[in-house]
């Protein structure tokens, strides 16, 4: 079975800059009504962690989920 990943966002640290959203190859992330990052399609995440590494605000944690 394909691996699943969880993408956690620290909403109090996210500044809604949009970098992670723009670079995610699977379009997992979007801005919510509060202009904070929200994983709207977590099931599509391939765990590449590009979003985590690019986040200037340390607001994203990608983990393999059970």
């Amino acid at each position: 079975m394909a691996k699943r990943f969880s993408v956690k966002i620290s909403k109090s640290w996210c500044k809604g800059c949009g970098l992670c959203i723009g670079i995610c190859p699977k379009k997992v992330l979007e801005l919510d009504g509060q202009v904070k990052c929200e994983p709207v399609r977590p099931e599509d995440c391939i765990g590449c962690r590009q979003c985590e590494n690019v986040c200037p605000d340390f607001a994203i944690t990608v983990k393999e989920s059970e």
Binding site: S12, W13, K15, G16, C17, G18, L19, G22, I23, Q50, E52, N53, V54, C55, P56, D57, F58, T61, K63
Partner: protein, 272 residues
């Protein structure tokens, strides 16, 4: 890298940090903390020195031994720390203005001295903190508050400057390669001598707005599209490389003796 390990290096009580949303300086700090984490460094034996500028705010958020010094003078402090305590890991973070304008003299002499300090230059081509004045790395024709009709002065290439002045490890990446930033910073820290890692970054607020790159993502794409790996660049002409950023390890001189080791010998001679 599990985030918990990296988080250990943050003064979390001061987060979120002061930088504008999407500022490249945060991408560089993140890469540097991943590098320190993966090298298994001890925060109590790691010193981060900085001058003044948006970039130089970085040490304030790092839970290690940190120094926020005077504009352009961070390398003088870093040199003093390393000379007194050669066992410490010493990193110096600088802006382009900090490094190549007011601190230009400190920079070239630190390069020729070859002291074991890793210098990270956060080059956003502008004085971000003070409102977008042109710096010595502002490209020709780019708009700045002090160059409203376009910059005229030819810019410095920080890496070539460092190599010319004698730095023994010199590398470049851009914020569009966060993973490469981490790898090169790791190598710079491990290098026994003066290392310079230039990271091309953006100040979308003060520079980008005036130069058609107002969103953080515009800048990410800009750097991504213009980055060329060293191996490929070696086969390209000067014309083909115009407007490009050559990335990777640009220079390594592993034979040069590190300064504190040379200085130990002076101490020994003097004590005879």
């Amino acid at each position: 890298m599990p985030r918990e390990d990296v988080m250990k290096w943050l003064r979390q009580q001061f987060m979120p940090h002061i930088w504008c949303p999407g500022c490249g300086h945060g991408i560089i700090m993140h890469a540097m903390l991943r590098a320190l984490t993966s090298l298994g460094k001890d925060p109590s034996k790691t010193v981060i020195s900085s001058g003044i500028g948006c970039s130089s705010r970085m040490p304030g958020y790092i839970d290690s031994c940190t120094l926020h010094t005077a504009h352009g003078r961070s390398l003088a402090f870093a040199t003093g720390v390393k000379l007194c305590n050669p066992e410490l890991t010493v990193i110096d973070v600088m802006g382009d203005g900090d490094c190549s304008a007011i601190g230009g003299n400190h920079f070239i002499h630190a390069c020729r001295r070859n002291i074991g300090v890793c210098a990270i230059v956060m080059n956003n081509n502008i004085y971000g903190m003070t409102g977008g004045q042109a710096s010595p790395t502002t490209p020709i024709d780019a708009i700045a508050t002090t160059a409203p009709y376009g910059a005229v002065d030819p810019p410095f290439d920080i890496c070539r400057l460092a190599i010319g002045a004698g730095a023994t490890f010199v590398a470049r990446a851009t914020i569009a390669q966060p993973q490469m930033c981490e790898t090169l910073i790791k190598k710079g820290i491990q290098h026994d001598g003066f290392s310079v890692i230039e990271i091309m970054t953006h100040c979308h607020t003060q520079f980008g707005r005036k130069n058609k790159r107002s969103r953080p993502l515009d800048n990410f794409s800009y750097f991504k599209d213009r980055s060329v790996l060293k191996a490929k660049a070696d086969g390209m002409t000067q014309d083909e490389l115009s407007g490009k950023y050559v990335i990777g390890e640009l220079h390594l001189d592993s034979g040069a003796e590190e300064y504190t080791k040379k200085y130990d010998k002076v101490i020994e001679r003097a004590g005879r």
